[in-house]
């Protein structure tokens, strides 16, 4: 039930961002510059806010921070993204690191 509300609300909010200019014209262009600037950094900020605890918290609970696959998988993804500019490859690398770690190191 909670999930149905979650999806419905996300759909409404997302549709609103897509349809607002159709209803109100290009008035949003007059948003102050600082809002535009803030919105530009929001994806990176939100992604990092979700990703970093998900990487760090399980790793901190392990015997040693670097004895956990998540920091290494995240490193592989970040480095590959910088080197190849290929999101798919970077994402696959992170999956592979976790998988191989679990198969060989437990």
């Amino acid at each position: 039930m909670e999930l149905a509300w979650l999806i419905l609300g996300m759909a409404l909010v997302t549709y609103a961002t897509r349809a607002a200019p159709l209803l109100f014209g290009d008035r949003a262009e007059r948003l102050p510059p600082w809002v535009h600037r803030w919105l530009r950094y929001l994806p990176s900020a939100l992604f990092a806010a979700v990703a970093v605890p998900a990487i760090v918290s399980p790793a901190v609970a392990a015997t040693s921070f670097l004895a956990h696959p998540y920091p290494w998988a995240a490193l592989a993804s970040g480095v590959l993204a910088r080197l190849t500019a290929n999101l798919t490859l970077a994402m696959l690398a992170s999956i592979l690191v976790v998988l191989l770690w679990r198969l060989w190191l437990g």
Binding site: L6, I7, G9, M10, A11, V13, T14, Y15, T17, R18, A19, A20, P21, L22, G25, D26, A28, R37, W38, L39, R40, Y41, L42, P43, S44, A45, L46, F47, A48, A49, V50, A51, V52, P53, A54, I55, V56, S57, Y70, A73, A74, S77, G78, V79, L80, A81, R82, A85, L87, T88, A90, M91, L92, A93, S94, I95, L96, V98, L99, R102
Partner: protein
């Protein structure tokens, strides 16, 4: 064929090659969503009615972090506000269509459909909807494949597939970072979330960290702008 059907078909053809790029992320979304407790119906419906990759990934990540629905709605609003800018660019191309075609075309605005439509000077609402229809096959179909296949995976593979979500976030942050403000926003986002977890009610640490860190990024950008202005003035 009517003019509208022709436009739709042209858009569909233009969107087809992009499905190859979308499919891996769609499957990854399905796998990660299953790890967060979503079933095939939730994944299929969400991909159809929300149809926004980054926001759906973020939602799954926030569900796993224990965030509530209203918190996720707010994050969705922030993250998808870039649609506003795309919709404004497309506005003149939609002007000639009937209201219900325009209403449907609004739902067809995604990063990929926007990209192919804005490349095509004569493309209108029908083209946009056609392109998004092709992308929908990959986005919804891939998500369903992920969530269904995920159920059959052994635990190690399921955990690894679930990590694709985090791998995706890290890759996007690393790829989009061009300068100090980007790295500053990302570092602050991660750092604040770690710092605030446990201090704020569950889920709020993510929103507060995201909102605050984006402000830090914007502040760093204004600073570097005024610094380069000063340098030019001094030179």
């Amino acid at each position: 064929m009517t003019l509208m059907q022709q436009g739709w078909a042209a858009g569909f053809r233009a969107g087809l090659p992009l499905t190859l790029g979308v499919a891996p992320f769609a499957v990854a979304f399905g796998l990660a969503a299953r790890e967060a407790g979503l079933g095939p119906i939730s994944v299929g419906v969400m991909s159809l009615v929300v149809f926004a990759g980054s926001a759906q990934f973020l939602a799954v990540g926030m569900v796993q972090a224990g965030a509530s629905a209203p918190q996720i709605w707010l994050a969705t609003l922030f993250l998808n506000s870039r649609h506003l800018l795309m919709a404004m660019v497309l506005l003149p191309r939609l002007a000639g269509s009937r209201w219900w075609v325009r209403a449907l075309a609004a739902h067809a605005i995604s990063d990929e459909a926007f990209a192919v439509t804005s490349r095509e000077p004569r493309a209108g609402a029908a083209f946009l909807i056609g392109a998004q229809s092709a992308l929908a096959l990959a986005w919804i179909g891939g998500g369903l494949v992920g969530v269904i296949v995920g159920a059959a995976l052994p635990p190690a593979m399921a955990e690894a597939a679930g990590f694709s979500l985090i791998g995706f976030f890290v890759a996007v942050v690393a790829l989009n970072a061009r300068g100090l403000p980007d790295w500053g926003a990302a570092t602050a986002g991660g750092g604040l979330a770690l710092l605030l977890v446990g201090m704020l009610p569950r889920g709020w640490e993510l929103l507060v960290a995201g909102i605050g860190a984006a402000a830090i990024g914007a502040l760093l950008e204004s600073r570097s702008r005024s610094a380069s202005r000063d340098a030019r003035a001094a030179g």
